[in-house]
Amino acid sequence: MAKRVVGIDLGTTNCAMSWHDLNDALGEVVPIPQLTAPGIVEERPLLPSFLYLAKEDEFPAGALDTPWEKKATYAAGEFARGHGAKVPTRLIASAKSWLSHTGVDRTAALLPWQAPAEVSRLSPVDASSRYLMHLAGAWKASQNTALDSEDIILTVPASFDAAARELTMKAASQAGLHNVTLLEEPQAALYAWLEKSGDRFRKQVNVGDVILVVDVGGGTTDFSLIAVTEQDGALQLTRLAVGDHILLGGDNMDLTLAHHLAQEKNLDPWQFTALTHGCREAKERLFASSRLTKVPISIPGRGSALLGSTIKVELNREDVTRILVDGFMPEVPVTGLPQTARRAGLTQLGLPYAQDPGITRHLAAFLTRQSRIAEGRAFVHPTAILFNGGVLKASALRERVVAVVNDWLANDSGAPVKELAGADLDHAVARGAAYYGWVRHGHGIRIRGGTARSYYVGVESAMPAVPGFVPPVKALCVAPFGMEEGTQADIPPQEFALVVGEPTVFRFFASSVRREDRVGDMIDDVARNDELEEVAPIETALNGEPGKLVPVNLQAAVTEVGTLELRCLEKGGPGRWMLEMNVRSREE
């Protein structure tokens, strides 16, 4: 049988899986069997990324079993989401956002965040690995081969830093998946567009075009810029820049509508969830048909009496326009940066949700922040725009983004953008990932880009100790922006000495805007530089005679699968040590 590549979209709110044949360029989305009620397994095109950790004896024995897992004590997918809404303390949601949360120990059993003591919690890595195990089971059930015997392309948000990518690989290997390569989601969306367009894509984009990918998922928003360039007469795609991880998406929109409609209604939490679902459907219907002016939503009571206990509300077009289009996609100038209300004092640990719901403001910040590729203009001028994510099925939202971007361009004497007609927005990432697997075997056009960030290790300045004064930390560039997969960089000799027999810890930084730094460049005073963000610390422990100092050189490598590795090489000796990212809680 022909070898295939499998594309997996491990989403914040939904997972999808698709395959692509390596011989005859065919592909298909794989339906995913999942529990829809206790004891009932049905196929669905998506797997909702929800995990319900059942209490012992909460369900009859075998009720949570899937064809590939017996005596299951948890459920993933549709039933987990539905039942979990009634038992929120046992529900894990948004595990993926926790994977990129630097404020917590991401390998510690944290989730569900609000669970009672008796629940055996899972780490964000474990939870992600459960979804992958589910997908592996679903693959086996429908394709009769082991998922691990195929090449797997797993997508991650472009905004995932080196540590979050590493953790995603760890989740895959925990799920028994080893032939895994990572791909950024906006790139996957562009690959899906390339697959759909076929040879016609050359008519739609030209050399010099800059494609802005706007990806609004259920829980996150992600931006990327991809340039169309030419080399030796052939078109090339190069990823220029990626944005920050923004925890803001379609779920926020549905919640906002529900809060609006719930005013002056006495709803219990379960009814509120029902209202949120109702808002999502009503919103989709209003966006789909411009003739509708309002859509009624009925919320059932919880008892068996349906008549007389049903609460009726209406979602009308003005509300949707005002709350969603104006609220989430406000018409702002390109200088209108997101508000980051600094929460004073004690902040409850939890996901760092975006505080400004204005997606266009986040977009403005992204385009102006990338001033280094703006060619002297106030912000980067995109020439084309590709949308991705289920939320953007709504043409009203897409049109607003295009209108706002065109407004910015017009004020900066730029030409308007063209919208690239996207594919099936629910499955584009999975399909594009599978197509990328095919591209990796030498077909079609490949997006080049390498690392989306430059990486630095922190070096403490040598200066005499002054009480009450923290010596400034300098940052040494170890991996430049755009370092390609399968390459490595030797860092010019520096005076590094590792102490043998005790752990050595480096602070580790990244920048998504400093494209000009070369390996070995030193940046003064990290604390005063807002272009650098601290990633997880990296550490290593060298065996040997305690207390001895070993002079070393640093070396960085980007692996074929898309993760970053840092090594210490002993100067004039055979010693070689890996530096590992410590994703446990960052010490401030």
């Binding site: 829809t36 009932i40 049905e42 075998g62 009720a63 349906l306 008549l307 049903t310």
Partner: protein
């Protein structure tokens, strides 16, 4: 405990001994068929009709259909019935589409004149009105009918009692 040889087995054994092998095989097959039919009849109705109960449970879960039908609608206003009907309609429609692909049984718009050829499928097409003479018939399509073109019944766990259409819900404080 000594193993007992059942009545049918003894009978089969007897047949094998006294008649030719070929004839014995034929008889054995007939007896086994009889036994399969008996055991099927012995299956409790909820197992025999499990998929029907699962469908009912899905219509209740998604669209509260059983709640709706079990309640006496007499004392409620059209407004109240309408609000509840939206839940039933929206949910049951979703469930129906998950289980079946449903298409009209005939082509053509309702109200138009269609021809029913000789040898027509009498299950898919029902003649009404002045039913006489020989086909082809000409008539007005009153209802286009429905056909389930795809059936996707879910796998049902043996561990569960399909009679439970909806469990009682007890909320712990």
């Amino acid at each position: 405990m000594a193993q007992q040889i059942g009545f049918w087995d003894r009978l089969k054994l007897g047949w094998r001994v006294i008649v030719s092998a070929a004839f014995a095989a034929e008889i054995t097959e007939a007896l086994e068929q009889l036994e399969r039919a008996r055991s099927k009849r012995a299956e409790p109705p909820e197992r025999l009709h499990a998929s029907g109960l699962v469908l009912l449970a899905a219509l209740q879960r998604e669209g509260r259909l059983v709640d709706f039908l079990q309640q006496d609608a007499a004392g409620f206003s059209d407004e109240e019935i309408g609000a509840a009907a939206r839940i039933v309609h929206g949910g049951c429609r979703k469930a129906l589409r998950q289980f079946f692909e449903i298409k009209p049984a005939t082509d053509g718009a309702e109200g138009s004149t269609i021809t029913v050829a000789a040898g027509f499928d009498a299950q898919r097409i029902r003649l009404t009105g002045n039913v006489s003479g020989q086909p082809p018939f000409k008539g007005t399509l009153r209802h286009h009918g429905w056909i389930a073109t795809e059936i996707r019944m879910p796998a049902i766990s043996e561990a569960l009692d399909p009679r439970v259409i909806s469990p009682a819900e007890v909320e712990l404080a």
